[in-house]
């Protein structure tokens, strides 16, 4: 009997399954095919299907209500912006064919691709671009992420069917980078016709996959969009299966029930590599793991930059990465990974030097009697969080710094980490931060600017630099400036950077796939059958 949920390329059979089941399944699949044949073009029928096991269900299907990184496995495949990540993870024109920028960096003129279409077959027009902005900023939409990009747009002017002019309120060098995740283009006709919550039943986008159906907490079904302007998938039906448990999710690719599993934890990735039918594919993500130091109102010693640098020297990050992450991560020296814009700056690494660290603390008059209170999250959202924090504490103990660890569930942790008034009884927070693209501004503004949601640090000089960061028309000038800023942050050491997580996928050997680097979710249009 064939596995109904498996791809066409999966041929594993269960010879001893009762014949009656086999007949029933055949009848059902026959009926399903008859139904699908009426709805979809015949070409899609000949394509194989693909099953991907993901860990969480969606929060929303509405591109104006994205609540966080967990939803992108859906949006990155079903919706598109004018710009978005290419196969190397760099911003590239998607729905736009080309663009020009005015010398002052305030006006962008976009020309749309002539063959860009929505999933309902309608062409993408400049009017849709304008509508997408209007809906994203309309107060009644309640877009929780409007502040990042769309709120800075003063006007979108329709020049003709395929051309539009976007005027910004103030210069924003991260504009094109953010287009991919913060400004999805939606169909005006569809939204106006569908009434309230237009994306709940039929989320129509322009991406390489079109939505078919969803069963909350079980699966989402998509279909390869054959009329896509360029990224036509090799697969017809795509099932995103929701399997929350790590072990069970990994089992999905071992048994051949799924062709790809996402978020394989490092401890399960190592044994998976040894299997004959599975390949483990890694790609760098944007998810940084670090310790935020409370330089505001915690242990008084932490307000000194030399002390914070010394704490960085006290932790043997390379050893910790090997021991807890089994090497499945990239070491991190700066607040951002070197593949982020402007973060490729050369600095002298802190290095692992516990003797020097202890000496600096002594010279600084550090109060060794007051323990440092470390806050961690213990619900498995970050792999090996508990072990990592215990390792950091052990390294701090080695230079004579006492520590107390407090592990919280995710909700309590994020409430404390992102609280408006930071808790003075917390000295360090074990944290992770996912950013959505290669621009550093979003993360830095939230992590180190005074008053930033996750900032436990305040420095007017850094604030002034952060506020200037996006106000450049020249890319080269901005790059120089950001490099300077990152180097200053390295001296200031508001964090103990640990590593950037890899996106780890378990993939059937029958497939060939290069996951888009720098994103933490699977972008599936370039999955192919292995030749």
């Amino acid at each position: 009997m064939e596995r109904a949920d498996s791809s066409g390329i999966t041929t594993s059979t269960r010879p001893d399954a009762p014949a009656v089941l086999g007949r029933r399944a055949a009848l059902l699949s026959g009926a399903a095919m008859a139904l699908a044949a009426g709805a979809a073009p015949a070409r899609a029928q000949s394509k194989p299907s693909l099953t991907v096991a993901v860990g969480t269900d969606l929060n929303t299907q509405d591109p104006c209500r994205v609540a966080g990184g967990n939803d992108y496995y859906f949006f990155a495949n079903v919706f598109e912006g004018l710009y978005g990540p290419d196969e190397e993870g760099k911003p590239a024109p998607l729905l736009a064919e080309s663009h020009t920028v005015s010398p002052d960096g305030l006006t962008y003129e976009f020309t749309l691709r002539p063959n860009a279409r929505f999933h309902n077959g309608e062409p993408v027009t400049a009017e849709d671009v304008r509508f997408s902005w209007q809906r994203a900023v309309a107060p009644e939409t309640r877009n929780p992420r409007a502040s990042v990009l769309v709120a800075n747009i003063a006007d979108v002017e329709v020049l003709d069917e395929r051309r539009c002019r976007v005027r910004l309120k103030k210069r924003d060098a991260s504009f094109l980078d953010n287009c991919g995740e913060y400004w999805y283009i939606i169909s005006k006709k569809h939204v106006e016709a569908a009434g309230e919550n237009p994306f709940d039943r039929q989320p129509i986008g322009t991406g390489p996959f079109a939505f078919v159906e969803r069963r909350t907490r079980s699966y989402i079904k998509l279909r390869g969009f054959d009329q896509h302007w360029g990224r036509v998938p090799a697969f017809g039906e795509v099932t995103l299966k929701i399997v929350p448990d790590d072990q069970s999710r990994v089992a999905q690719v071992q048994t051949g029930e799924s062709d790809i599993v996402v978020n394989v934890p490092p401890v399960l990735a190592a044994p998976l590599q040894r299997l004959p039918n599975v390949q483990v594919i890694r790609a760098p993500s944007f998810q940084n793991v670090y310790i935020a130091i409370n330089a505001l109102n915690g242990h008084p010693g932490l307000r000194r930059a030399d002390v914070r640098r010394a704490l960085n020297m006290a932790v043997d990050k390379a050893a910790l990465l090997r021991a807890t992450m089994l090497g499945f991560a990239q070491p991190l020296e700066l607040p951002c990974h070197t593949n982020i814009f402007g973060c490729d700056v050369q600095v002298t690494p802190y290095g692992y030097n516990p003797d020097r660290a202890r000496q600096i603390l002594r010279e600084a008059g550090f109060d060794f009697n007051r323990p440092l209170r470390l806050l961690g999250q213990g619900t498995g959202r970050v792999p090996q969080a508990r072990e990592t924090l215990q390792g950091v504490a052990a390294f701090l103990n080695r230079i004579g710094v006492k520590t107390e660890i407090n592990m919280l569930d995710y909700g309590a942790w994020i409430s404390a980490y992102g609280a408006r008034e930071k808790d003075p009884s917390v000295d360090m927070v074990f944290a992770n931060f996912t950013d959505y693209n290669g621009d550093p501004s979003g993360r830095l503004l939230r992590q180190v600017r005074t008053g930033g949601t996750y900032s436990w640090y305040s420095n007017p000089e850094i604030d002034a630099m952060l506020d200037r960061m996006n106000d450049f028309a020249s890319v080269e000038e901005r790059q120089q400036f950001v490099r300077g800023l990152i180097a200053r942050l390295h001296e200031e050491a508001p964090l103990i950077p640990l590593w950037t997580l890899d996106s780890i996928y378990g993939v059937s050997k029958r497939l060939s796939w290069k996951p888009t680097p720098n994103v933490s979710w699977p972008v599936l249009w370039n999955v192919r059958r292995a030749s």
């Binding site: 089941l21 609540a67 992420r145 502040s147 909350t216 072990q247 089992a251 569930d409």
Partner: protein
């Protein structure tokens, strides 16, 4: 009998009323849901609007009155996470849970009853020793381990069954065996102990003397007398599975209510927590009531006392 049912119903309603207060307060003790629902990019105005929209900015007693009024109209509010009516979400999840609980109970009875009876009929034999070992093993092994072992054996090593998922008949086998095996251990021990007791009783001895066929004595008369504690246990276990099969549901990606409840608690999705607890509570109470009624049928002395 009617009085018996009415008293039980009255008690059920009082319990439910108390439960609304308890669950309402407990849900709110987990903390503010705003940082979990909204992304870090959200502005202070977005956060304030969210609290206002769901009435979270009002004093807690006012929130409770609104909640109670809505519940009486069958409205449990909109899930913060899914933005769908919480009651609908829970209804969607309760189906898979009831199915799984039912099939698991069937597995438990089908394994536990014959084993318990067999052991009681042959005290001191190798069979009794084997049954004792089975029952000890069944009670000692946690479901997350047995679940993963079953996946390893019957989905990975021998690719006979799907490793997880919901929807097909095959999907039931592994989770139902996981839960049923665990419950069958207790059913076995209870059956064994009570059957032994029943077989020793005077009426069984009498029946033997009268020459009534052994099969009839065991299955009809002794088993009926031994069944009361087993029915109690099954009722309790069924209630437990409705909200408590969290681990098994997670391991087998079963979209049931237990896992939904735990996720909702971790996400501070108050409306779903409230709806899930209330609905499972109603079901558990219904089952308890049914068990009580079944007692009355099995043992007429119960309704008279």
């Amino acid at each position: 009998m009617a009085r018996f049912i009415l008293t039980r119903l009255g008690q059920t309603l009082v319990t439910l009323a108390l439960l609304t207060i308890l669950i309402f307060v407990l849900a709110r003790l987990t903390g503010d849901p705003t940082p979990l629902v909204l992304p870090s990019e959200a502005t202070e105005a977005d956060r304030a609007f969210f609290r206002e929209q769901y009435g979270l900015d009002r004093p807690i007693h006012e929130q409770y009155v609104v909640f109670l009024r809505n519940v009486l109209h069958g409205d449990f509010g909109i899930s913060f996470r899914y933005r769908e009516p919480a009651f609908n979400l829970v209804l969607m999840a309760i189906g898979p849970t009831l199915q799984l609980a039912g099939v698991s109970m069937l597995v438990a009875v089908m394994l536990g009853l014959p084993l318990g009876i067999a052991a009681a009929l042959r005290p001191g034999s190798w069979l009794a020793a084997a049954v004792r070992a089975y029952a000890s093993f069944g009670q000692a092994v946690p479901t997350f381990w047995s679940g993963l072992m079953l996946i390893f054996l019957f989905a990975i090593t021998l690719p006979l069954l799907p490793s997880s998922g919901y929807g097909e008949v095959e999907n039931f086998v592994l989770p139902a065996v996981t839960l049923g095996f665990y419950a069958s251990a207790s059913v076995t021990m209870l059956t064994w102990a009570n059957m032994t007791e029943a077989l020793r009783s005077d009426f069984v001895q009498m029946e033997r003397v009268l020459g009534i066929p052994r099969r009839l004595i065991v299955l009809k008369h002794a088993l009926r007398n031994a069944s009361l504690p087993i029915v109690t246990y099954l009722g309790l276990q069924f209630g437990l599975l409705l909200g408590g099969a969290v681990v098994t549901e997670r391991v087998f990606a079963w979209p049931g209510v237990g896992q939904m409840l735990v996720d909702a608690i971790l996400n501070r999705d108050y409306p779903v927590v409230q709806a899930a607890v209330m609905l499972t509570a109603v079901l558990v109470m219904t089952i308890n009531l049914a068990v009580d009624l079944l007692y009355a049928v099995l043992d007429p002395r119960v309704s008279r006392s």
